[in-house]
Every structure is written in structure tokens, then in C-alpha cells.
Symmetry: none
DNA sequence: AATGAATGAGTCTTCATTCAT
DNA sequence: GATGAATGAAGACTCATTCAT
């Protein structure tokens, strides 16, 4: 549920993170949650405070305004996502074929979005609703995130692993869209995350590949063979 | 009843489109627009009034409350979508193969969402944000809409036109998600709607088909052969 | 108590000033009063509303913000003062000797400040306390007001009616200061306004004149011969 | 007791100026400053703390509440003034003529107000704005201060040194008012304090005297002969 | 002696809603 | 049918004040 505490670990060299910093994170977490549930305009500081288990004015001890707070959450959402994907991709063996990299990115995006972080959902869902002046930092990160995917697709294209009758950018938009939307419908009780991942991977692989793909050889944690739901 | 603007209302069978009814529609249209731009909580009656070119209190002559108004727009969004898809599918020749029907549904959904109606976008984007007590009617419509797609998929499955290694429901969710998300990124200046449609159709067809599909034979208005963007 | 309704009369050609405009003026009057009693920072919209006999949010129907409202009152204070003094001086016969004009200005300033207007007091008392960005309009008016007095003094100087051993500008500052401060101590029960005026005139005349002045010949309404208090 | 800053506290008879006492004074000084700049309601403990170079809660170690602190500053302002004037007057040679004593008081008041103390300005400017329950001590001091001046005037009157056509009390109010107001306009860059003093003395002397006064013989530090500004 | 963290009371401001016209 | 005027409820934000350390 809580966002990856990457920052905190980086910020404080000591092994004892201060109570203050924890409170700050509690506020951010609470905001991410409310934001993803209620949307930008619906995010009340009182609700945030409730989840963070403090009084609303206390928020101002940590953030100078509601907008600041929200901006930070929105930024963290996309920024964490980018860093996470970047890091995961970098861990793949050098020779990994482009399509495998795409399929791996699908898994990474999905797991991050659904498992790790309200921040991602908050960021994804509200990117169209926050006022312009809160967007600058996110725009840059979003562009960078887009570039990662673009590279995956152009590599695949160069390698002849993308269908001719499909446009790279549009295909990318459709793929990422399908993944983003998963946050709207995924219900852990309906299908396990592993199942979702496996299905999404198959789905994407075939939507893009020029020929019927051989049996998929990759898939980090998804060892399931039968991707049927209700697992 | 008229969902999309004045034109439609004027075209309607009612021989006397009263000014009153037109105003009512102007308000609904304005609400759909604001709702899709600002989200549920961000939708202010003053903004609605601005677009509808009247004063906020005038809205109360037509709707008993903000919630009522919004509920009606949200309902209309999903309801129109369902009726539209239903009607279009019914126009297909009887023998149309299941996969062709799916691909046709893709086009219909996409065109309706992107071309025809702020209502659809409003409905799609805010389905997760409106309070429970406004949801009942929509839920039913959404379920009905879902059933249409489900039937398309189960028919395709029965006909052996869906890959074995993919779950029907999840595939459906991924497909519809990819389409829904298009409203977030589509920019008419970047790619024509026809292009989007063609790409999405190819994308979906192959993501689902067990074998490389033959050259797609259908596509109402999309006569384009090369689905590359920037058309 | 109420400010001279100059504006209102000017704004509306009809003899029936709208209720709305009256409310607006009630708010301004209330603000002037609170402002002069409590100071800039102490001016609560709730207090203003109380005196204006409405609810605080109603103020926003007429003014876009507390600052706007206050700015308008402060501006009106100095602006009315200037216009009033200007108009009164212009009514003096052409040949009026410079010192008589000064003494007449003393009366005008005093009567306006003490009798007519909370606006003047509000403006005088708070000129040093309002934030910079509310000051621009007032500064100009204040400068213009200052210029009127400056002219009075320089004319008197040119005419040899000012003592040699006193600086024009400093004398002016002392005179106007003595008058401004009257708002702090004047209690109608202690001394009539006429008495104050007569004393202030005598005081100023002799503080400035090079020689013992002859029996003062002027004084609009102050026919009193013995300027003793408790009149 | 020490009113004006550290220096004075250091000079004081207490042989052990504890750090604690110095901090207390820093807080008082800071308060006087903020109070005279922002007014009663505008005086925030955070601002006070800033000038005193500590954190706001630290103030509570020295004062039990904001009101207490402000009350003390306001009281000190008028009290110091009174003591100062009293002490200075007592140093005048016994035979000093009443008018000389008045003129000397003018200088003392002015120098104290403009040169020595934010306390005086704070006290002067805010006497009308602080809530009733903070006033009692000041009222007494103010009355005592008033009595000093009253005595100066009644002595002058008894001695035939005041014009007949002017009321003692009103004259006194005008004189002190002119002096008090100086804090509002005096800019050290525009005119030296000595110049102000000299001009104010001349101004007052002639405003009150029944006959053209002889060359003024007194003036502690003001050796200037030509009271023109910009010295 | 002083601060970091937090709170409660209150203030400005927004907004849906009402009502007389 | 529609608006001008006004209100009540709620939300962001400020600030004096407290308390543990």
C-alpha cells in the first residue's frame, strides 16, 4: 500500500528515520489514497488528515499548501513509476529480445500500478484534472516515462518484431492505456495479480507481433501456465 | 432524451422542440463537458452555467439539484453508449463472424467516445469518483453494456476465434480499457480518428486471435489501407 | 456618519437608487467604521457584516475580496477628502489672502474628518498599516492632497505671510498632523466641533504668522467669539 | 524595567544581566517594533519571534500570553515617556519660564518618540486599537502624562504666557497631536531630528504666545540657527 | 532555556441552494 | 423562465498556544 520509501532511505543516513519524516510520509500516503479515490477537486484535507491520523492543520507543518502536497504526490506517482521501470529494465540481461523487454515492461507497469502504489493510480487518474500550474514537473517525468516505452517500441520495430500494419505510437498508447485502465477494474478477489499479468502479457505480445508468437519464454514471477482467471 | 446537442434535438421526431427543452439540453451538454474536464468534485454549477449561457440559479428550474443533474449526465453517458452499440451491432448482417463483430464494436465504442459525446467521456472518467448513492442507475446500464461485450467474447470463444491462453473476461477488460483510455491521449491533430480506429482494430484483432488473421475485411468508414498515424 | 454619497448620486441618473447599491454602500460604511476602530489587520468581515446587517459571505457579492473592499474604503477616504477640500477652496472669493485660505483649509479638513466620515479616519489611521500592494491608488491621492496644502503654504510664503524661522514643509506636516490627531482625542461631549475648529484655526494662524495676527476676520460657521471649550 | 534595547540593559545597575533577561528584552523590543509597524491585530508572534531571533513558543517562557506581552510593551511606551519627561523637566533650573518649559517638553517628547523608542510609537499608534481589558494600566499612565502637560499649560496660563483666544486643553491636544503625528511622516533622510525639533519648537511657541516671542533662548542639543529642512 | 510537533479556534472564501421578483 | 440578491455549510489556511523533550 505504502509507496516505496526510496526517498526516505536516501534522505536520512541514519537507520532511525525520524518520527517527523514518518508523519510526512503518512500524509503523502493518505493523500495518494484520497486523490486516487476522489479525484483532484474531491481531495479534502480533512479526509487526508483522517487517514493520516492527525488534524488537518498539522498538514501545514509539512506542506505549505494543499496544492503543494498534491503536486508532490502526483509527481511522486509518475516519477517513481519511471524510476522503477528504468531500474527493472536495466536488470534484464543484455541480449533480451525487444519484444521480451516490452512484455517485461507490461508486467512491471502493472505490478507497480496495482500492487505497490496509490501514488501511481493517483497520478494516472488525475493527470487530466489538475490545474496547469501544478503540472510542470509531472509533464517532464511523463515525457521521460513515455520515452522509455518509445524506445522499447522502436527497438522492437527495428528488429522486425512489430506488425507492419500498426503505428508505433498508437500501439504504445493502446498498450499503456489498457494497463492504466486496469486500476479501474481490477479486483483482487476476482483475479490474482499474477493472472492479470500473464493475460496482459499474452494480450500485448500478440497484439503487436507480426506472426503467431512461439510459447512465451519469459515472465518474472508468473509461473502460471493457465492464465485463466479466478486463480 | 436527446443526448447530443441541439442538432439532435432539432432532428428529433418531436415536432415542437420547445425552447425550454433546448435549454435543458444546453445545461446537460455543458455539464457533460465540465464533468469530463474537471471531474465530479470539480464540476461547479457556475461553470456549467457559463457554458450553457445562463445564470446558475436557472439550472434549478430544470434540475432539482447538482447531484440530480450530474447523475443524469452520467447515466446518459453509459446508457447512450449501450443503446448505440446495441443498435449498431443489430445492423450487422446475420452471418457476421464473431471476431468481426468484436472489431466492429471496437470501432463503434471508439467513435462514440471520441467523436460524438462528452457524455461518454464524462461517464467513463468519473465512474470511479461519484458517490455511491448516485450510482444505481449507471451500474445497471454498465452491467448491461458489459453483457453486450461479454456476449461478443463468448460467441467468439465458442467459435474458436479466441486464443486459448487468454481469459475472456480479462481480455475484454483489457480491450475496453485500451479504448476508454484513448479519450485521455487522443489529439485530433496527431492522428485522425479513422487512423485510431484502424489501428485499434488491428491491435485488438491480433491480441485475441489464435492465428494470424486474414486481411481484415470490415470497417465502416475507415477506408484507409495504411494505418500509420499522421494521416 | 455615512460617507458623502457623492458617488452614488453621480453613478445613477435616476432618482431611485437601487437597493443593491444601497447595500454596497452599507458595506463600505461598515468597513470604514470597523477599519477606523480596529485597524487594518483587526478588520474582520464578520464585524463588517454585523454593522452592515447581513451575512459575511454576502460581502462577496459586492467585493471580490477583503483586500479589495478595504482598498476601496481607504481610497475613498483620502480621495473624498481631497475632492472636498479642493471644492471648498474653489468656492472662496478670488482675492482671499493666503493665510485665510490656510485657516479655511484647517476648518474644512477638521470638519470632514470629525463630522462627515469614518472613511477619512479609516484612511488616516491605517495608511501606515496596509500592505504595499493595496497602496498604489491611495498614494497618488495622498500626493495630490499634499500638493493642495503645499500650494497653500507656498502662496502664503510668497506673500510674506509665513514666519521666516519655519520650514514650509515641516510646518505643513505639523499642522496637518495636529488636525489628523484630533480624531484620536475629540469627544463631542467635551467640546463642540465649532470650538475645536475655532481653536485650531487660531492655533495654526499664530503658529505660522510672522506677526501677531489682527483679530481673525474669517471662519465660515464658527461665529463663536470665545473659543473656550465646554461650549 | 529597561525599555530600550540591550545597551541600556547592559548599562543598568543590575550587575548581572542574565542571558535570560536579555532575551526577554529582545522579545519586548521585537514586539514594540512589530506593534508599531503592523498594529495591534497585525502583530503576530511569529514575526516577533523572527526579530527576536528565536522560535515563537519560546516567547511563552517569558510571557504568559500574547496579550500580556503586548500590554507590557504598550504600558512601557507611555510609562517610559512619562518618566522621561518628568525627569527631564526636573532638571530644568527652577526659575525657567513656563513657556520655556513647554518648548523644552516639545523637544523631549519629540526626541523620545522619534529617536529612542519603538515603544513610544507602538504605544501612541495603538492606543485606540487595543481591547479594553488591556488598557487599564496605560490609561493611568496616560492620565499622569497628560497631567504633566496640563501643569505646563496652566502654569503658562497663570503667567499670562498663553493667548486668551485659545483653550488650554485644546491647545495642549493640538500640540501633543502634532508631535505624535510626527512619527507618521518623519523620514531621517528628509530632515534631521534637530531640524524637526527646532521647527516644532518655533511652531508651538508662536501658536501659543500672545505676543511675538523674543528670540528663543533654549534648546538642548539644537544649535542650529536656521531651522530650514534638509539640513 | 528553547524547540519540534501538533492542535483548536477562528477567518476568509467558495459554492450549492433559495427566494422574491 | 430566469435573475439578482442573499445565505448556510463547508473547506483551506492562519495563528496563538500547548506539550514532550
Amino acid at each position: 500500500m505504502a509507496r516505496k520509501p526510496a526517498k526516505q532511505a536516501v534522505d536520512s543516513d541514519s537507520s532511525d528515520p525520524k518520527k517527523s519524516e514518518l508523519t510526512r510520509i503518512r500524509i503523502l500516503d493518505a493523500t495518494a489514497r484520497v486523490l486516487s479515490e476522489k479525484g483532484y477537486a474531491g481531495t479534502r484535507l480533512t479526509d487526508v488528515a483522517k487517514y493520516a491520523e492527525l488534524q488537518a492543520p498539522a498538514i501545514y507543518y509539512y506542506f505549505s499548501s494543499r496544492e503543494d502536497l498534491i503536486e508532490e504526490v502526483m509527481f511522486a506517482g509518475i516519477s517513481d513509476m519511471r524510476q522503477h521501470l528504468r531500474a527493472e529494465l536495466d536488470r534484464l540481461p543484455d541480449g533480451t529480445p525487444p519484444m521480451e523487454r516490452i512484455v517485461f515492461a507490461v508486467e512491471t507497469h502493472l505490478r507497480h500500478e496495482l500492487e505497490l502504489s496509490d501514488y501511481a493510480t493517483a497520478s494516472i487518474r488525475n493527470s487530466g484534472q489538475i490545474p496547469e500550474h501544478l503540472r510542470s514537473r509531472q509533464k517532464k517525468e511523463a515525457a521521460a516515462y513515455d520515452r522509455i516505452w518509445r524506445k522499447l517500441f522502436s527497438d522492437a520495430r527495428a528488429d522486425g518484431q512489430l506488425r507492419d500494419d500498426i503505428d508505433d505510437k498508437l500501439a504504445q498508447a493502446l498498450v499503456v492505456g489498457a494497463l492504466n485502465w486496469a486500476a479501474e477494474w481490477w479486483d483482487p478477489r476476482r483475479a490474482s495479480l499474477d493472472t492479470i499479468v500473464a493475460n496482459a502479457q499474452t494480450f500485448v505480445r500478440h497484439s503487436l507481433s507480426p506472426l503467431p508468437a512461439p510459447d512465451e519464454p519469459t515472465g518474472r514471477k508468473s509461473k502460471r501456465k493457465t492464465p485463466a482467471a479466478n486463480s
